[in-house]
Amino acid sequence: MEASATVISGDHSALEGSPLSRLPDRALRYGLTALAVAILLLLLYFFIRLIGESHDALSKFGFSFVFGNDWDVSRNIYHGAALVVGTLITSGIALLIGVPVAVATALFLTEMCPRRARPALAMLVDLLAAVPSVVYGLWGVFVLGPKLQPVEKWFADTFSFIPFIGGGGSSITPGNYFIAGLILAIMILPIVSAISREVLATVPAENKEAALALGATRWEMIRMAVLPYARPGITGGAMLGLGRAIGETIAVVLTIGNAPTIGKHIFDQGYSLAAVIANEFGEAANQPLHKSALFAAGLVLFIITLIVNIIARWFVSRGTRGQRGAGGGAIGAVAVGGAGE
């Protein structure tokens, strides 16, 4: 007993080897941890600096920076309700149009499409995410906006009895909430579709078989067994899409019309938080309060997207619970615009 113990302890020092040989392992371990800490601290530092730069505008205007409706550079007054409203309207339109199409696409690809055609079609949908936002903006300004103007006019006249749609008639401008929202819908489509596909793939086959064995048609099977199961994950995907839409800058600044007022209907021009920063940054260089107001707009934007993303991730992780790989894959897919397929 005693003898064996001494043998083991004797071996022990031999097993440990020289401290030198263990050094790289320790260095790597602590080095990598330190790197992760550093990145988190850096983010925190950025956030604090952003608050600092926004301080002037926020302390001067208080809550009316978000709720007051008077953004006037010439009078140096920055009440940004029009920006917040513009951001919400355009991303709302993006969700209304983009999410149904994205989910339908995902359903088609996972439940109906022949297996051979699936990868190619999925890749094409994913490629929408590869188009840079400035190119969407370019296309929106010179093609989509002008081409849709008569359609919008007809629509506004025909459905003029619906609030927020009619009333514009002749005053429809090429850049407006609707065009910006439509561009955003196209931009969030690949992300929402990629996440929906990941989530739909986790629906257990036995649930689908149960529905079919009851005599359900394919659509009834989707409604009965697939959609209820996938709902939280799809909701999360839609929220991540919303986060993207809220934060999108260049495509929106080119298509929303850039008028710091609250539009009367969806074909009216407006402004968004991100757009105002990109558009007025140059002229704000020599006006500290204006600049501070733009930083404050950035801060508000940052906080809104943060909240939306946190909620989204909660939904996505609930939708793919028990499948860490799937959840990570879904988010990875978001990040790279659909590398999952």
């Binding site: 649930n207 149960a210 529905a211 064995a213 009851l214 005599g215 009965m224 067994a225 209820p228």
Partner: protein, 290 residues
């Protein structure tokens, strides 16, 4: 928390007609709820059936006649094609990507694979219970049983009545009547499987296919399901796939032994287990291989 289904007048009336029935009888399959068979039931005729998974030939030309109103067990070693064969009967086989089948399956005189036959109607007529209990996880107990009925537009009192009847028929009523609106996934494995059987019989099929329905259950739950099968045969033609020979012996009127995608022997259960004609059957049932 009383679910709305049981508070309505209609179900109160139902309960009072069933008064005097104790919890004990509530928990056993209710033959009255099952309903009587009309006529002598329906036969299933499988003729020269072949099934494939891509290049793999899983079922190689099978002929079986499933007698009306009987329980037929399919036994055989794993991979012998017994599940595949059964899934061909209600055309679930073709749902697997790359899978296809050839040959004839007839329900009485109706050709199940006829081009003019609606696949959803076939599956409604030939219900299926799966190996793993698969209640819809997002639905309540009530909604699970109602799922198939709702497809055909059944609603209101009629729906409620048929759901309750199906739950009585599988002997689950006593256990779940106070929590019909809670999730089906919260039941035990055996209860879940009986819930799935209730879901299947709620739509009143003529034939029930069971693909190893007890393999995921403990012995007590297995016994309950076997008792239930015994009751169900009053009303339905039943085909049950099992890898458990004792189970086949207990529940089946006749038994089919399959090997390598072919039928080796089809005989009354007792004969197949005691005096089989084929030497391979004998070796299998005596446990020499498998």
């Amino acid at each position: 928390m009383i679910p709305p289904e049981t508070t309505s007048k209609e179900s109160d009336a139902k309960m009072s007609t069933a008064e005097g029935r104790s919890e004990q009888t509530d928990a056993t399959p209710d033959r009255a709820a099952l309903g009587a068979r009309q006529g002598k039931g329906h036969s299933v005729l499988v003729k020269d059936l072949h099934a494939y998974y891509g290049q793999v030939h899983a079922v190689k030309g099978i002929d079986i006649n499933f007698s009306p109103g009987e329980v037929t067990a399919i036994i055989g070693p794993s991979g012998c094609g017994k599940s595949t064969m059964v899934r061909c009967i209600n055309r679930m086989h073709e749902e697997i990507p790359g899978a296809r089948s050839e040959g004839e399956v007839k329900l009485d005189t109706l050709d199940v694979y006829d081009a003019g036959v609606d696949i959803t109607a076939v599956r409604r007529l030939i219900g299926m219970v799966f190996q793993k209990p698969n209640p819809f996880p997002t639905m309540s107990i009530f909604d699970n049983v109602a799922a198939g009925l709702r497809l055909t537009g059944s609603r209101g009192d009629n729906l409620r009545e048929r759901v309750h009847k199906a739950l009585r028929a599988v002997g689950l009523w006593g256990e779940v009547k106070n929590r019909l609106s809670s999730a089906g996934g919260g039941l035990s494995g055996g209860q879940q499987q009986r819930l799935c059987i209730a879901r299947t019989i709620a739509v009143e099929p003529e034939v029930i296919l069971m693909d190893e329905p007890c393999s995921a259950l403990d012995p007590v739950a297995t016994l309950k399901v076997e008792e239930l099968i015994d009751e169900l045969k009053q009303r339905y033609t039943i085909v049950i796939v099992t890898h458990n020979m004792q189970q086949a012996g207990r529940v089946a009127d006749s038994t089919v032994f399959m090997l390598d995608g072919e039928v080796i022997e089809h005989a009354p259960t007792e004969k197949l287990f005691t005096t089989p004609d084929d030497e391979r059957t004998e070796r299998y049932v005596t446990g020499k291989f498998g």
